[in-house]
């Protein structure tokens, strides 16, 4: 299936780029030959399992592993007493784990095993045995005594003066200078803005913890050869994972090899190492044998990370004609007890407004750890602010598209121009597709059992250029090889790199081989996170190809067994402009007034992701992201028991991810552009379609029932409560 595509002027057709191309590794993916981490079996390999805390906050007073050690088949056991390694990227000041400087100053150290334990699911011990059942049995034989401590689950409650302290300094997460300060952005003066407004509105919105829930449960295989470590692990960034492993284990980078050939989904915060990698490495060293550590689905849900839950208080000042005068956000993000990432809340930048103040406070809680999940701070913030603005438009009796067209960003923060601007085109195109002007009716017009609604949202999303590396080679037969440090987490990066290389080298794709997923054979490449792979590594591929073609022009193809090699390390920048991807989503719903059931009946997306390198895989990315966003809007939640602090719904059933029968057909149009940056003008894509989706669904439900459900997910009970409250 090819998506519809509309080209803006200036996008010249190319030979290989821009044509629907099946993945170069598609046969491996449909025959079971693709080798994922857990498919690795090594001679003499042991199996490892992790014992996890049943308490949300507790001090370990004793831990007795003697019975477990005595079980035949058990080869090694590690706990906080004998296997404590600093996990540098597990918790860092400000959540900026990619910076060595920030790592040095951080005071909130997270170890592979911590005492006290601070969330249900935190590792307490790990066992390696000759088979997984013996390892599991051994976990039951470890005797741990805990001194149970008071806990706190919600970010606002965690800031109360009498809240249990998760860290000695308190629960306000520190910034990257180790200061307990919220993240503050200001322009203009909001108080002046409110004074100058005809109307001032305020409201509170919240979003839930949503897990990445990639299909591949985490595992890691560690093998030592003397002082050299090979680690097979699902990582989106083999190079960053290697740096992390070397730093945490205190060994030189050259002694670490990271392999990830196939990865069963990423969706965020995997451009690094994980505690499972370190635990596997420590166990393998202790046992003197290779170790495969496996996490169960439940452990993956509560032991890794998911999207940080947020509380967002907005105060909006607006004039009679709907022009924004002031935007104020006071936001709180629940980070769990460790700062795995930023905890930011995006969205104020979507609007033109002279007076903006955003104060976001990431807070430590005793829930599972929060981290990046597909557009880390965007879907939450875009849901909050675009629901708020939709409510403001309704209060002013304005068509929401008119409100958006009047107030949406035209320059970045009203100041810096964009490299190209297609946001208005995206909106107008989508309005045409759903026949908005004919079909939109004010919120709550329907009064029957079945209430129909139409909602809109939009996005502007970072699409920056930056440094990456690639190596290109050619042999005497004219076969080309491209070496890139990508792992292909599912988005199709390997194929994208091949297509870009074929275009740049002016050869058919069949003449290009891509080498990937192994630090032994690949140069450093920016890892697969932040929708950067195509833009940054794709650009490096073009530069390497160009350099190789210069050599070929000068020397001809190499003779015999010789190869020509060219490498590139470009670091392009954008001068005097901001590079963004743009898009608009339109959602139609039917709400059953008697049951509260919401059904998405039509979903239209329009995206400017620059030039589309491979329309086939691009449409998969857009459809998948939007569908995940609908799930976040309507179902997904990790529910906690408030009295025990235990997560109740870790898993696919409990957290209610989208299934075949939930999924709707997503109609997508690409507005193709070429702003002269990136590989042939390609912009960010992987996160694009996720970030505006919850807002579009929220606005459609509001339009259907005339009442706003302000807390995600929009489940039946909340819809019924909203309708009951109105009657």
């Amino acid at each position: 299936m090819s998506p519809q595509r509309a080209s803006s002027a200036g996008v010249q057709p190319l030979t290989t780029v821009g044509h629907p191309t099946p993945r170069i590794d598609a046969v491996e993916r449909v025959t079971g030959k693709a080798r994922y981490t857990n498919d690795v079996q090594l001679p003499g390999m042991l199996f490892a399992r992790v014992l996890r805390s049943p308490h949300p906050h507790a001090r370990i007073t004793s831990i007795d592993v003697s019975n477990a050690h005595a079980l035949p088949g058990v080869k090694a056991i590690v706990t906080h007493e004998n296997g404590q390694v600093v996990w540098g990227s597990g918790s860092v000041a400000g959540g900026q784990q990619y910076s060595d400087e920030i790592k040095k100053i951080t005071t909130h150290r997270r170890y592979t095993f911590n005492n006290p334990v601070r969330f249900v699911g935190e590792p307490v011990a790990a066992v390696a045995a000759t088979d997984r059942h013996t390892a599991e049995e051994a976990l039951h034989l470890i005797r741990v005594t805990y001194e149970v401590l008071p806990f706190v689950l919600e970010p606002e409650a965690a800031l109360a003066a009498d809240a249990p302290k998760i860290w000695p300094e308190g629960n306000l997460a520190v910034n990257n200078r180790n200061e307990p300060q919220p993240q503050v952005q200001r322009r203009g003066n909001v108080e002046e803005g409110f004074k100058a407004s005809d109307h001032v509105f305020d409201a509170r919105y919240s979003t839930a913890f949503v897990h990445n829930a990639q299909m591949e449960p985490r595992s890691a295989v560690a093998q030592w050869d003397g002082d050299r470590l090979t680690i097979y692990t699902p990582t989106g960034g083999i190079a960053n994972c290697r740096t992390d492993m070397a730093r945490d284990l205190g060994i030189p980078q050259e002694k670490v090899r990271v392999v990830c050939q196939y990865m069963g989904g990423n969706f965020g915060n995997k451009n690094q190492n994980q505690d499972a990698d370190l635990i596997a490495a420590v166990l393998a060293k202790a046992a003197g044998a290779p170790v495969k550590l496996e996490l169960s689905r439940k452990e993956d849900y509560i032991g890794m990370h998911g999207r940080w839950p947020t509380v967002q208080h907005y105060k909006i000042g607006v004039s009679n004609d709907g022009t924004l005068k002031a935007i104020q956000l006071r936001g709180f993000s629940g980070m769990g007890p460790y700062r795995k990432n930023s905890g930011a809340i995006a969205g104020t930048e979507l609007y033109q407004c002279p007076n903006v103040e955003s104060i976001v406070t990431p807070v430590f809680t005793n829930k599972t750890v929060s981290g990046n999940y597909r557009g880390p701070e965007f879907p939450q913030g875009f849901f909050g602010i675009q629901s708020m603005m939709d409510d403001v438009a309704a209060a002013l009796k304005m068509d929401p598209t008119a409100f958006i067209l009047k107030n949406m960003t035209r320059k970045f923060r009203d100041d810096t121009p964009y490299t190209n601007y297609s946001l208005e085109e995206c909106l107008l195109r989508g309005m045409e597709m759903v026949r908005w002007k004919e079909r939109w009716r004010p919120a709550g017009t329907d009064n029957g059992r079945l209430r129909r609604g139409l909602g809109v949202s939009f996005m502007a999303f970072r699409s920056g250029v930056g440094r990456s590396n690639a190596v290109a080679r050619v042999n005497a037969k004219g076969d080309y090889t491209i070496h890139v440090g990508v792992t292909d987490v599912g988005a199709g990066a390997k194929t994208t790199m091949g297509v870009i290389a074929a275009e740049a080298l002016r050869v058919p794709l069949s003449k290009v081989q891509v080498v990937w997923g192994d630090t032994e054979t690949c140069p450093y490449s920016v890892g697969e996170s932040g929708s950067r792979t195509t833009i940054m590594t794709g650009y490096a591929v073009i530069e390497a190809a160009k350099a190789l073609m210069v050599q070929i022009a000068e020397q001809g193809l190499p003779a015999g067994d010789r190869v020509l090699t060219a490498s590139s390390n470009p670091n392009p920048t954008v001068q005097g402009a901001v590079r963004n991807a743009f898009g608009a989503h339109f959602c139609e719903v039917e709400v059953e007034a008697d049951t509260g059931r919401v059904r998405v009946t039509r979903y239209v997306t329009v995206h400017d992701c620059g030039r589309i390198i491979n329309p086939l895989t691009a449409s998969s990315q857009i459809v998948g992201g939007a569908t995940q966003g609908i799930g976040m809007a309507l179902h997904e939640d990790l529910v906690y028991d408030r009295r025990s602090g235990v997560p109740l719904t870790p898993g696919y059933y409990g957290a209610r991810v989208m299934t075949h029968q939930d999924a709707v057909a997503i109609e997508n149009v690409f507005i193709e552009t070429d702003d002269g940056y990136g590989p042939y003008g390609a912009k960010s894509m992987g996160e694009s379609s996720k970030v505006p989706a919850p807002a579009a669904v929220s606005n459609a439900v509001f339009n259907a029932i005339g009442v706003r459900v302000k807390d995600l997910p929009i489940t039946r009970d909340k819809v019924l409560a909203a309708l009951g409250g109105r009657a």
Partner: protein, 204 residues
């Protein structure tokens, strides 16, 4: 031998002369991992020898009573195309055909498989020839990360065997036990419908 051949037809074709071509099972002493990376039996574990047919090949294997079919296929028969996504009957990544019926291999014990015929993703293509479903999955970019793909294929295979021309709603209903977190559901259903049209044409 056709990977989808029924058990009855298989028995008719080969009579009683079914010879176990492989005796799989832990070869190392108890408590030591063997050189292939196959985990050994746990010390003292209760085991039973079973005979089953996997992708048309008769196999015998000494299984621990607690082994699931999924781990037996992956760890002991080295058929790692079957993936374990949840190991508790929620996601369908481990779906295989047991006597032509799609089942979650994580929720079947290996000892229940004595005398059964199992088809895994490795059994779908014969002699390097892809099954029409596999080709349709490629053409429609159905797999993204690919981790749920084997299970999606096996559910689709069973559906088309029972219903060669399903409607889109029938495809969704038959495959709704197969979660795809990349959420490429539309591409999966389009691929199954395309394969069904192709198979239908060949039948006519």
């Amino acid at each position: 031998m056709s990977p989808t051949i029924s058990r009855r037809r298989f028995l008719e074709g080969t009579g009683a002369a079914v010879v176990a071509t492989t005796i799989a099972g832990p070869s190392g002493a108890q408590g030591t991992a063997d050189i292939t990376g196959t985990p050994p039996h746990a010390p003292g574990a209760r085991t039973t020898r079973i005979s089953l047919t996997v992708n048309g090949t008769a196999r015998q294997i000494e299984v621990e009573h607690r082994w699931t079919l999924a781990e037996t296929l992956r760890d002991h028969l080295h058929l790692t195309g079957t993936k374990i996504g949840c190991d508790r009957g929620e996601c369908g990544a481990c779906t295989v055909l047991v006597d032509d019926t799609p089942m979650y291999a994580c929720s079947q014990l290996a000892i229940w498989m004595d005398g059964r015929h199992i088809t895994t993703v490795e059994g779908l293509s014969a002699n390097g020839q892809l099954d029409p479903l596999q080709q349709a999955f490629i053409d429609h970019d159905a797999p993204q990360c690919g981790f749920c793909t084997s299970g999606q294929l096996m559910s689709a295979k069973a559906l088309l065997a029972a219903n060669p021309a399903p409607t889109i709603d029938e495809v969704r209903a038959a495959m709704t036990g197969n979660v795809c977190r990349c959420s490429n559901y539309a591409h999966y259903t389009e691929a199954v419908l395309a394969a069904s049209r192709q198979t239908d044409r060949r039948r006519v």
